[in-house]
């Protein structure tokens, strides 16, 4: 009798106000910069410099700021947004495709050299991007790829984390019997992948895609070294250029545009994460789910 009551109390304990209050403090810290940003994108540049950070002040200029962000310097922000979208669609899309195919191949086929492939990929993950970025730049500059979209897209195509996640996911999610049945029906391996097994991998694929999109969208170091012309910049490098404009001789500060541009850069990803919550949260934990 007591054991039953104890076990339910461990699995379904009462809500704690103290714990909730402590966590709410951390929540406030998490939200502080975002709230600060949302307040300050509504200000004109003079008001930004003269009013307290966590209070509204001056005329409400959010819409003017958005218009100016998109029209400033012949609409370069629009160009950066287009570049970012290009790098994300091709780079993250390609990364998801390659990781899905390779993770699936490693999980469901026993071929010679399979262990070697896995060892090489794991070993390479331990090597930090630091060691790779500058040599990659030099190599790409020899190949004539620097200052082109390909210089950003090609390195974005590899996601070892994505491969690992699909590998673990496919091992559990795809029964061998299903593939055997399709083979008996005379389907080729690629057709089996496209028509039978791919849809079973969807939660894993959405997770990999989302994380690939985030890392491509947020990419800064690689475009910084690869690109020399603003016309190829993604949003991240462009925003920092606007920010750096405020420093030095001939400074032209555009703080209000940096803030508005920052907000516009964040919004699409936050919306994607919120809308796709159900997928990526199940995809992340599915790797280690026990039957």
């Amino acid at each position: 009798m007591t054991t039953v009551r104890n076990s339910t109390s461990v699995l379904h304990p009462r809500k704690s106000r103290v714990l909730t209050a402590v966590m709410a403090l951390y929540l406030a810290y998490t939200l502080l910069p975002l709230v600060w940003l949302m307040i300050n994108v509504t200000k004109t540049q003079p008001a930004l410099l003269s009013t307290p950070g966590l209070a509204f002040g001056g005329p409400f200029a959010l819409f003017d700021n958005i218009v100016e962000t998109f029209t400033y310097d012949d609409g370069i922000f629009f160009r950066w947004l287009g570049n970012t979208l290009l790098y994300v669609v091709v780079g993250a899309g390609g990364a998801t495709f390659l990781a899905t195919a390779a993770g699936y191949g490693l999980a469901k086929y026993r071929f010679a050299g399979r262990r070697a492939v896995f060892a090489v990929i794991l070993g390479a993950v331990a090597i930090p991007g630091t060691a790779l970025a500058v040599p990659t730049f030099l190599l790409f500059s020899k190949l004539g790829l620097t200052n082109t979209p390909l210089a950003i897209i090609i390195p974005s195509l590899i996601s070892p984390f994505g491969l690992y996640l699909i590998w673990v996911y496919a091992t559990d999610a795809i029964p061998d019997e299903l593939m055997e049945a399709a083979r008996i029906d005379g389907a080729g391996e690629i057709r089996i992948f496209l028509t039978v097994t791919l849809r079973l991998l969807v939660p894993g694929i959405v997770t990999v895609a989302l994380f690939a999109v985030v890392s491509t969208w947020n990419n800064y170091f690689l475009p910084l070294i690869m690109l020399s012309e603003p016309k190829w910049y993604p949003l991240t490098v462009g925003l920092n250029q606007w920010s750096a404009q405020a420093i030095g001789a001939g400074a032209r500060p555009v703080y209000h545009l940096v803030l508005t541009g920052s907000l516009l850069t964040i919004v699409p990803l936050v919306v994607a994460f919120l809308l796709l919550q159900r997928f990526w949260q199940s995809g992340l934990s599915a790797g280690s789910v026990k039957q």
Binding site: P13, M23, Y104, T136, L284
Partner: protein
């Protein structure tokens, strides 16, 4: 039906196994171009040196490595990120762990809301995070300026030499607590319920359950998160590079090893030496990651 089909299926699987290469080959091809080729190229570069007067390069063997290992700038930047990670990584992972345990405990009101909001900063680009915090730290119109005005003295100076590392640490912590929380939370979710029931029968309370069941169960996730955090700290670049334009006197060209390698290449055209710095950092990082993994695995046994 399945039992009669089993023997041919086993034979078939071996026959079909080789076709796995169709799926793996495209990944490996791009992987070779973006990982293996640059590593090989970097090793090649590190063995040569630019000739000052005659142009071209000359083979110098391991001379560049000897120079890096005796380079005071390199060690200063290395010790700085070492100090950074010794403080920042434990704080970040502890916060993430507490958050994950709290959200998993079922004692929290609106746990789902907490989970998504704490994760949210991960979706904010590092550049934007650094820009936002940079503004907040600022003495023009930042919160630091507001706070100092409130206090009537310049107490809070996030851009000063003694504050800077902590200021950067705050940005990195803000960005990645949620990501690590999610790793821990995912690991907590898959602990079988029977273990908790057994603990309850033994009369274990909430803290006892955390110590004897939850923490051991997510050890693997903690080791992985630690390794990734260490690698991330050694690669520190974005945040200091962006804050540099706000505090150029505090953040120099070799504030972190990654900034040093970058500035050697793009400020000084010393490509061979830059590649050597990058390789040395890569080797050190790989060794430390390997040691952490070994220790984590041994404790697990």
């Amino acid at each position: 039906m399945t039992s009669t089909a089993a023997p041919p299926a086993a034979r078939r699987r071996r026959g079909h196994g080789g076709r796995g290469w169709i799926f793996v080959a495209p990944f490996l091809l791009v992987f070779a171009l973006t990982f293996l080729a640059p590593i090989g190229y970097a090793i090649g570069l590190s063995l040569f040196r630019e000739q000052a007067f005659f142009g071209g390069t000359a083979f110098v063997g391991l001379d560049n490595y000897a120079l890096v290992l005796a380079d005071a700038k390199f060690w200063e930047s290395f010790l700085r990120v070492l100090a950074f990670l010794a403080v920042q990584v434990p704080i970040m992972l502890l916060l993430a762990l507490v958050a994950a345990l709290a959200i998993d405990s079922a004692r929290l009101h609106a746990a789902g809301f907490f989970r998504i909001v704490i994760f949210l900063p991960y979706a904010v680009p590092g550049v934007v995070a650094a820009l936002m915090w940079g503004f907040i730290y600022g003495d023009h119109f930042g919160l630091a300026a507001d706070l100092n005005r409130l206090l009537g003295q310049d107490l809070v100076q996030p851009f000063s030499g003694s504050w800077m590392l902590a200021s950067i640490g705050n940005i990195v912590t803000w960005e990645f607590v949620g990501y690590n929380m999610l790793i821990f939370y995912s690991a907590l979710k898959v602990i079988p319920n029977e273990q908790f029931e057994a603990a309850a029968i033994d009369g274990a309370g909430a803290f006892r359950t955390i110590l004897s069941i939850k923490l051991p169960a997510i050890r693997g996730a903690v080791v992985i998160a630690t390794i990734f955090s260490i690698i991330g700290s050694f690669q520190l670049f974005n945040e200091p590079n962006i804050l540099r334009s706000l505090a150029p006197n505090v953040i120099g060209t070799y504030y972190t090893p990654n900034m040093y390698a970058y500035n050697l290449s793009f400020g000084g055209q010393q490509y061979n030496y830059s590649a050597t710095v990058a390789i040395v950092m890569g080797v050190i990082t790989a060794i430390i990651a390997y040691v952490v993994q070994l220790r984590g695995a041994r404790k697990g046994m």
